[in-house]
Symmetry: C3
Subunit: 360 residues, 3 copies
Amino acid sequence: MGGMPENAPDQDARELVQPRIRRAWYVACVSTELRKKPLAFTIFETPIVLFRDSSGQANALMDRCPHRNVPLSIGKVVDGRLACGYHGWQFSGDGRCVHIPAYTGEPDRPARRCGAFPVIEQQGFVWVWPDRSGPPEGPPFEMRYADAPGYLTVRKALPAQASIHAVAENALDVPHTAFLHRGLFRSDTPNRAPITCRIKRWHDRVECEYIGESRPTGLVGRILSPSGGTVIHFDRFYLPSIVEVEYRIGDENHIVLNGAITPVSDHESVLHACVAVRARIPLWLVRPFVEMAALRIFGQDQRLLEIQTNALRRFGEARYASTEIDVLGPHILRLMRQAARGTPAPPDGQPYTRDVTMLV
Amino acid sequence: MGGMPENAPDQDARELVQPRIRRAWYVACVSTELRKKPLAFTIFETPIVLFRDSSGQANALMDRCPHRNVPLSIGKVVDGRLACGYHGWQFSGDGRCVHIPAYTGEPDRPARRCGAFPVIEQQGFVWVWPDRSGPPEGPPFEMRYADAPGYLTVRKALPAQASIHAVAENALDVPHTAFLHRGLFRSDTPNRAPITCRIKRWHDRVECEYIGESRPTGLVGRILSPSGGTVIHFDRFYLPSIVEVEYRIGDENHIVLNGAITPVSDHESVLHACVAVRARIPLWLVRPFVEMAALRIFGQDQRLLEIQTNALRRFGEARYASTEIDVLGPHILRLMRQAARGTPAPPDGQPYTRDVTMLV
Amino acid sequence: MGGMPENAPDQDARELVQPRIRRAWYVACVSTELRKKPLAFTIFETPIVLFRDSSGQANALMDRCPHRNVPLSIGKVVDGRLACGYHGWQFSGDGRCVHIPAYTGEPDRPARRCGAFPVIEQQGFVWVWPDRSGPPEGPPFEMRYADAPGYLTVRKALPAQASIHAVAENALDVPHTAFLHRGLFRSDTPNRAPITCRIKRWHDRVECEYIGESRPTGLVGRILSPSGGTVIHFDRFYLPSIVEVEYRIGDENHIVLNGAITPVSDHESVLHACVAVRARIPLWLVRPFVEMAALRIFGQDQRLLEIQTNALRRFGEARYASTEIDVLGPHILRLMRQAARGTPAPPDGQPYTRDVTMLV
């Protein structure tokens, strides 16, 4: 399987429109964001409104009143029902019209219903399944080590002007860190050492293990683990849009960054990050520095992703020439394309495996 | 005729592009706005320039110099002719080119003419007929009670990011007033009383009489008629784009709001309002309060119409589910569609009539 | 040949998309603008990046890294090679990939090359040939009298929201100067005198000689030549996009304005002007006044060209009605269309010649 053309270097990815996997869970918001007011969000360019009913349960409806098409998100929640801001029509969490002011007839009729989407609240995130062709196939992704004992957990929504694929590849890409984030995470030193990148791809995910890596030489690594130590480092991607960066440095330091990427449109995303950290040194001490560095790193990525997206739009295509050290990007695209086409998942046997040398 | 499907509730109006009735009079501006300088306005996305010739008569030309296509509205009026700001070509009110600086030949040639549109000034408004396929069929609409003895008359141009249909329905719609304009005009009280809405539709207009209505409970009603009184209330729409709201409260209070809606583009309009008021109490006393409330009401409508238009654009369609208490909107759309198709007007016999119950 | 329809007055030019002559030299920037940093510019909507290699020679590459399509212009020059700002890939002036950080393989592969464009630096301008279908056919245009002994030479880049044709016609058009620039250059006097305009058109250029012209009556003319004198005045256009205005007033005053127009997109250009002046009076004395007047004139033209372009866009066409005193515009369009079609140049025999009367 190692000789398959999609794994060859110098391959091209020419699609500008990203693969759209509609039958999947995506994060709409952090739970604490959704309070008394309705909340609008967009996925695959579809406007959706979230609101909590009287039991506190989150609901998701198409953000368009069936009456005169005004977004329901400009309305308000009345007795656990969502009321339109124009004529006051009220909808229950399942999308039925349950009240029309001034009207003496029966409010509920098929044409007066709002489309409703499945919602699950889990680990402090509100997940929505943006497809109505059938019930969801399984639960949302479980963020690893979130709120686990001994772990500090931080959640943050990071918007990016880029596709899922561009955001995911950027989040999991090692070589650019020495260049775009010079000094913050890795450095572009002349005396780099070779390590082995072990790629494994299953039908629904791909991971890369970096074998022989030293502690990253930049600011973040030095703060978290001043004394160095053995490094275990995995980068992973799970369909439809989850990234995971996992570091173990020595026995006591463990960082898992999970990011669920929500596609607002083809070239606009929100990375809902959930970082779980356990460390030898007290985290309250270093948290400000690490957060500052992390936001600086993400700010640089954000700016670069927007520049990249503008360039793709201008050229009307993505024409990517890859090398073997683009260890995950081409595999992510392959998984996403298969899933968007609805190719039946193969029996989960041995993963496709490949070793690659990289200088870090 | 009462069983026709277009009058049934739950009907859909899916066209996003509004019906375009070109052979009709539309208000370009208030007369006092058009002075010495040329004035640009747009109708159905066609740029038109207005100017007064030496006799003071208003003229309307295509706002494009035939020479190098610069808008004539950036030029100036010289000796009653409109001079282009680029090379100084001059045009008379009928669109002929009458002078070309530096040129020794005859200026007037067919290719050098500007298209001219019929113009009528009436009741303080400049009306333009934005079609050149034949002379106008009749005069513009006469604003009722404008400048009549005993009436205070106010004119105001109110821009709206919405189609004629959306603006007209909004202006004539009763149920939303208790909700969007809560407290200003009507209130959303739990103990509402049923009234009868008598709808009559002719081939070129539709009206609704509200029978049994009390004086509106909000601020505006209380100021104009503190003591209450019998209410006579009509809402009317006349082709192509005129709305009319008429109230008589007791013997002495009479309000007629006429609004001529000019379509700038499919989703951009200007409502040229002309309000004529006769009241028992001195109008100079209450005018500031009424104007403030009216502008507040219109500001809320303006904002809502823009939100609605953005939602229609985003979804690429207008998919309206109506009930019987949408007493005028569906009829307005039916009249506009017939007129845009150029369906010959039926003989003016008995109107289509229907009674509907509404809680106010 | 004088009776050919394309020379007749009242002709129409209805194309909105301008003729695109790709196989030609265009000015990218003034030499002094291109220093240590890469410089982005756009021609025919194609993004190109300029940079100097270690020998100081200017190079032009497609402004897109073949790896992840980020513009190379956000990167930097390292050891005379252009390094991408994302992963640090490095390219030599001929477009080959010569270094990929972290990668142990051979960097140069066909798919990893950037398109390179011919570049010539001449008379203080960097010229690029934005076509890669074959080597350039000859050198760039030579700016006349630039840096010649006794001449003051000024270079300035003037952006314009307009097509090459609109900018060129505007720069060479005499009649509008009395109107748009009233008082600055010419005046719109009632007692204008007839002069002869002698038009000559070759297969690659067109000129107009103005015979019998007095010194322009406006500010600029009066400053440069207070005492009047015989005026020799030529306006010229050279394919693909060079304008030239040449004045000799008396024996000692000589002005040559060359402008190389670079098409950013169909309706966006940069006029790279090079003005060479020799005058009787000391230029350091009058330079501030002349520059101020020139910038004022160009500012008026800039504003008008943008208004014109917006009008063309709004109408979706350019429908120009010309007269005989549009002495160059129609000929420029004819030459550009022929060149864009690639019509083989006819043998350079006698030019098409025509005399026209104009009042100035």
